[in-house]
């Protein structure tokens, strides 16, 4: 079995290639080719895992959850690389960036991708930490890509706040390791997730409780859970739009994956502790995001706050638990990645057309860029949970989990916040899409290369929302199966 090494080597090879390739087109081609191959291999591995069970050898471990994440990461990465051809190419043509920056963009994207892939395929929780810290380091350059004062500020904040949070998570890992070697003795497998899961009931609950709090706060910083979210809107709004999509759709999920690994172990050891914490952070994030969505002035920040909201919803889903809650949370993870990717692409097209991020200065997108405008509007409907898109299914499942657990207060708050966010979000977006066209903006939509991935993404969430295809539900069901209480 070398398939996992292949998954890690491809982005590395592409990154090395990017370092040497001389032209714009060759850079783009190598990135497209590499990411495409990556997606296919990851898909093959994923199907294999779903059919034949987890793959585990040397440092690697890929189970259904990892395969699910691999699929999201590689697919979104492919979409982002396709979209980048249009977006970063536009910047290059406008002379906003030079070839050096152009090359370093593709290089850093591949390294960023590499670290995220490493997060989901490694078995050792310590190495997972190293990889998650690696994602921060690799993406900091991308956040500060434009080298303006605001982007440097955002990158610095991102680096410092996330490194701080991650440091806390490291303390949590130390504690987990301490409780593990108490059972096993000093063994090199004591930090491996498979080992930890098998000995979870014997672990010291005091250690594990404290460890989970630290992990939740630490990785939660990276996930963007309130109140540790402060870096997120800055980084998302300052990064180039394809990177915003990558951050929001994949990075946040990767960090969440880090929490989930510990969540499973903690739930097996001290049932009920981790879920309560998830519940609290989830509701808090939703409430905070709602307030900021109402007051938003910058559309990329609006989308960023919506990411915080969705991370809150996912957290709530896992917190409510049970098969239906976990099912909802997983559907939400998937659909949010697809939909948010679509929205950031739309935002990127608008930004390049209007040259402003302020919502007050963007009017009449539908008449200037008909396809982008329509896609943006549909995306906004999807992200706020309107049927027939797939987020609706996730949100309803989570509501159902709340009601069946008799958590009426939580469910009520959840529903109220969803309604508020729906109203505020649609208000902002519809003002941008309709209305009298801003003066001085020439008509003409973005090129087809940027529209194809958007259409594709919309197609996916629509198909899942309408038909709920069996392969998809099977996959989610299998992934839910590895969570305690996640079997039907």
């Amino acid at each position: 079995m070398i398939i996992i090494e292949a998954i890690l080597l491809i982005p590395l090879a592409v990154a090395v290639a990017c370092f040497f390739l001389p032209h714009r087109r060759t850079l783009e081609a190598s990135a497209l080719l590499g990411t495409g191959a990556l997606f296919i291999i990851a898909l093959m591995l994923g199907i294999d895992v779903l059919n034949n069970g987890p793959v585990q050898y040397s440092y690697w471990y890929v189970d259904e959850l990892s395969a699910f994440m691999l699929f999201i990461i590689t697919f979104v990465a492919l979409m982002v690389v396709i979209y980048s051809v249009s977006y970063i190419g536009h910047d290059y043509e406008e002379r906003e960036i030079d070839l050096r920056q152009f090359r370093s963009y593709y290089l850093m994207v591949q390294l960023f991708l590499l670290t995220m892939l490493l997060v989901v395929v490694c078995n050792n929780l310590g190495i997972m930490w190293v990889a998650i810290e690696g994602t921060t380091l690799a993406s900091a350059f991308l956040v500060g890509f434009y080298e303006k004062d605001t982007s440097v500020e955002a990158a610095w904040k991102y680096l410092v706040i996330c490194s701080l949070g991650i440091a806390l998570a490291l303390f949590g890992i130390v504690l987990t390791y301490a409780s593990s070697i108490e059972v096993l003795g000093a063994s090199s497998s004591a930090l491996e997730w498979t080992t930890l899961r098998s000995i979870a009931p014997e672990l010291d609950p005091t250690y594990l409780r404290l460890a989970f709090i630290l992990i939740m706060v630490g990785y939660g910083t990276k996930v963007g859970l309130a109140p540790m979210h402060t870096w997120l809107p800055d980084a998302h709004s300052e990064a180039p739009s394809p990177i915003s999509a990558l951050l929001s759709a994949v990075l946040l999920n990767c960090a969440f994956y880090g929490i989930l690994r510990f969540f499973i172990i903690t739930e097996l050891c001290v049932p009920g502790f981790a879920t309560t914490l998830m519940l609290i952070f989830g509701l808090l994030s939703m409430a905070l995001a709602a307030a900021f969505i109402i007051a938003a002035k910058d559309y990329k920040r609006l989308l960023a706050y919506s990411s915080i909201e969705h991370m809150g919803i996912i957290s709530l889903g896992f917190g409510l638990g049970g098969y239906i809650g976990i099912f909802g949370a997983l559907v939400q993870m998937f659909s949010h990645a697809m939909t948010k990717c679509l929205l950031f692409f739309g935002a990127g097209n608008i930004l390049q057309k209007y040259n402003t991020k302020s919502m007050d200065e963007v009017r009449g997108v539908i008449s200037v860029m008909p396809v982008t405008g329509a896609l943006l509007l549909l995306g906004a409907l999807a992200i706020t949970g309107s049927p027939p898109f797939s987020i609706f299914i996730g949100e309803v499942a989570i509501l159902q989990a709340g009601l069946s657990n008799e958590e009426y207060l939580v469910s009520g708050l959840y529903l109220a916040l969803l309604v508020v966010i729906f109203a505020a979000f649609m208000y902002h977006i519809s003002r941008m899409v309709f209305g009298k066209t801003t003066e001085g903006v020439t008509k003409g939509d973005a090129g087809p290369i940027s529209l194809i991935p958007m259409l594709l993404l919309l197609g996916i969430i629509l198909v899942i929302g309408v038909f709920l295809p069996e392969p998809f539900t099977d996959m989610v069901e299998q992934v839910a199966g590895i969570f305690p209480g996640g079997r039907t």
Partner: protein, 219 residues
Amino acid sequence: MNEQALTGVINGLAAFILLTAFVMVSHNRMNQLVRTFAIQSIALGAFAFAVAYYTGSDHIYVIAVLTIVLKGIVIPQFLKYTIDKIHVRKEVEPLVGIPLSLLLCAGLVMVAYYVAEPIIAGADAVTRNTLAISVAVVLIGFFLMITRRKAMSEIIALLVIENGIFLGAISITYGMPLIVEIGIFFDVLVAVLIMGLFAFRINQTFETLDTTFMRRLKD
């Protein structure tokens, strides 16, 4: 060396590491901050050596050497180079006065003691008592981060937190698996390099290293 003397040395080094954290709080010059950080890291390396000698495990020796070389020499030299290269005012300019900072940090040590107590009660390593010190160093690092708003001092605060966690890892588990430790060292090194690079950029774009100037991004 007999066991008692060895635990004496281990405890003494832990106390010394805590002391250096306090000394850092009392500094008002960037260069002093870097120097004390180097001293702290070397003490941490010595601590790891003592623990390695006590437990006789080879991989802690490796960690000790790495700590001294990377955190004690390479990183401080790099930070010093960055500070010299960026011609800015070298005062730390704390937001909270030094006497009050010191007292607050002493309070943090007490908090650390209470936080660490339940864990210490459950552990059986000889070095378990130093866990409270490690928590204290982490908390003091956070305090430095909050009250010293310059890019360079934020980097050092982050490194102090890292040192604290490292001390904790050796205290309760005699160090993590070697591959993880090496990964962590790699991350720390890369993080410092990248942050140093960004410090240059901040200096270019804001003409100061004071991060309180960075208030453009808000809602």
